[in-house]
């Protein structure tokens, strides 16, 4: 299982060689671009909790319309599943996702179909447990801690991939 750093690596590697170089040398420029989108394309949507806001980026449309059909539409918004508990972690994740997604959106160099990163997958696995502790207590009880991602934990997504937005 790649750790957070490795998975950032994956994300970067998914860019073309040219883009990779660009990222390496001109991080400042990237910041500029990302920053621009952050405002113009409502990248700051990341800071709100309104799912519609996520869909400010058409590349999020699929998940948005999927979410509208999902079992969770009335019980969980995007951020409930895609940001970790705790203010700091929450805003770190939002900021970094917000920035990188803005960056990739603008430079149009992300892998399609979009795939959740390892780091965000763990965030989501935690989110499930956060709300479903009662239901899942038993099946996690005897696991060595059952931290999402560790070998002794069950992956919720493996069986419940569709709960957030039908794939």
């Amino acid at each position: 299982m790649p750790d957070a750093r490795k998975s950032w690596g994956r994300t970067l590697l998914s860019a073309t060689t040219l883009q990779a170089v660009l990222v390496g040398v001109a991080f400042g420029a990237a910041l500029g671009i990302g920053g621009y989108t952050f405002i113009y394309a409502k990248g700051y949507s990341y800071l709100t909790n309104d799912p519609a806001a996520c869909a400010n980026c058409h590349v999020m449309d699929e998940q948005y319309s999927g979410w509208l059909k999902s079992s969770h539409r009335s019980v969980a918004v995007c951020n409930d599943c895609h940001t970790p508990p705790g203010t700091l972690g929450k805003y770190y994740t939002k900021a970094s996702n917000g920035f990188w997604h803005s960056y990739y959106f603008t430079t149009d160099t992300f892998h399609e179909p979009i795939r959740i990163t390892e780091r965000n997958r763990r965030v989501t696995e935690q989110a499930c447990r956060k709300c479903h502790a009662e239901v899942t207590g038993v099946i996690d009880a005897h696991a060595g801690g059952g931290e999402a991602g560790d070998d002794s934990a069950l992956s919720c997504i493996r069986c419940h991939r569709n709960v957030g937005h039908m794939h």
Binding site: Y36, T106, D108, H111, E112, P113, R115, R161
Partner: protein
């Protein structure tokens, strides 16, 4: 930064109508003015890239008078000489190549050596060119009539009436852009299938028509759902076929159903043979590209996944998603073709396909060895002067073994479209070939193989 502005625009107007298209416009370049992205993809079917078992390899050749092509696809006969034995006495033993992109369909058909060794009928053109407009012209506005007229021409004459490979108008209604079936062969074939009692849960509209009391006829363009059409437009050509009677009417053998047993039974019933085998004298059949039939036996069809989902997946151009008109092996485009439904890494998906294809390829090899040995045995027995009566049983086994084997050999996914069914068919083929060998030697009750519970 312009990037995003553009994108927000694109989102609003997907395309501009530059020219008016009507039911006579068969030139794709004209359609391309309205739909430049689809046209670009369409033109890229000239690319030749090889995958483990598919795609195609560009083989340079020196053009000749008879055949001006400077590039062809690799010869399957050279890859596996056993094919020559299987087809001994038939045009396919002279020239059979890996198929390649749509852009080549017209020239490959026109210049294959198979044209020189036999006089082919106009029927051939049905699946190798944009015949919708020519058929209607030849039929004085009546598609079916034109079909019949051109079937009975010599290939050369019919060829002159056609100027493009499969084109936009063959799959699309020029005004609504909706998919439509334009091929008489499929319109009649699917109707015959609908009239049969073969269950086809993977074709909801057919089941619905049957449930509604089979009123008048099943009309594919009126009744099929959009998702079904995403496979039917391909089924217009990627099917098993034969030329019926002196009118050389193109016919898809689906009267009893789409499974191999049912197709075999149909050919036995009408007493059809493609040729008499040179070495063995058996009345044999040639199976051809039954992608549609095999796909129908697979889990994807059963799950409502159409040809276009994998071979023409949606690709994003800025804000809009369009169907990739660069029709090709999905293994050259795994992320768009597969990952929308399967979250596995590309390499893993490739390995899964190759596992299925590898098993199929191995069994194909065993079945081919068995068949070649049976043919050799019959040849010997014949030379030893055995009578037709004595050879009859072995020849019948060859007829079956060969058609079953060829059904998978000619199917171009190397088993992927229906992995278990492909291997089952090959297993039955082996059983036929070996029983033929035993029969020649006498002393075993061969019928028992059918006495299975």
């Amino acid at each position: 930064l312009v990037n995003i502005m553009e994108r927000k625009q694109e989102a609003r107007n997907p395309f501009y109508r530059v020219v008016e298209l009507d039911d006579e416009t068969d030139d794709p370049e004209v359609w391309g003015k309205n739909f430049p992205l689809q046209y670009d993809g369409y033109r890229r079917t000239v690319d030749q890239v090889r995958t483990r078992y598919g795609g195609s390899e560009a083989e340079p050749r020196t053009p000749t008078q008879a055949d001006p092509r400077s590039v062809v696809a690799q010869s399957r006969l050279e890859e596996d000489p056993r094919l020559k034995t299987m087809w001994a006495g038939y045009a396919f033993s002279k020239d059979f190549r890996e198929e390649r992109g749509h852009a080549y369909m017209l020239e490959d058909q026109t210049f294959t050596e198979r044209q020189q060794v036999t006089q082919q009928p106009g029927t051939c053109i049905h699946c190798h060119g944009s015949v919708y407009v020519p058929y209607k012209r030849a039929g004085g506005g009546d598609l079916m009539r034109g079909f019949e007229v051109m079937n009975q021409m010599k290939f050369g004459e019919a060829r002159k009436l056609v100027s493009h490979p499969v084109s936009c108008i063959d799959c699309h209604d020029p005004t609504s852009m909706q998919l439509r079936v334009t091929r008489p062969g499929f319109i009649e074939g699917i109707r015959a299938l609908a009239n049969s009692d073969d269950p086809v849960p993977q074709m909801p509209s057919v089941e619905r028509w049957r449930a509604d009391g089979r009123k008048d006829v099943y009309d594919v363009n009126r009744m099929a759902s959009r998702q079904e059409m995403r496979a039917f437009v391909c089924g217009q050509c990627h099917v098993e076929y034969y030329f019926k009677g002196p009118e050389k009417r193109l016919t898809y053998p689906w009267q009893k159903g789409l499974k191999i047993e049912q197709i075999m039974a149909y050919y036995d019933e009408v007493g059809h043979k493609d040729w008499e085998h040179l070495d063995s004298g058996a009345p044999v059949l040639k199976a051809q590209h039954p992608e549609f039939e095999m796909w129908n036996q697979g889990i994807h069809a059963r799950s409502g996944v159409a040809c276009a989902d994998c071979h023409m997946p949606y690709v994003r151009h800025g804000a809009m998603k369009i169907s990739d008109h660069h029709v090709r092996s999905p293994l050259l485009n795994i992320n768009n073709a597969c990952q929308t439904c399967h979250k596995w890494p590309e390499e893993e998906l490739r390995l899964r396909v190759e596992t299925i294809q590898g098993r199929t390829h191995r069994m194909r090899g065993l079945a081919m060895d068995a068949l070649v040995q049976l043919i050799a045995d019959i040849k010997v027995a014949r030379e030893q002067g055995r009578t037709d009566a004595e050879l009859q049983q072995a020849r019948d086994f060859q007829r079956r073994a060969q058609f079953y084997l060829d059904f998978v050999e000619a199917e171009n996914s190397t088993g992927f479209h229906a992995g278990q069914e492909a291997v089952r068919i090959l297993g039955e083929s082996i059983n036929f070939s070996r029983q033929g060998q035993v029969a020649l030697r006498g002393g075993v009750v061969v019928q028992a193989a059918h006495a299975t519970p």
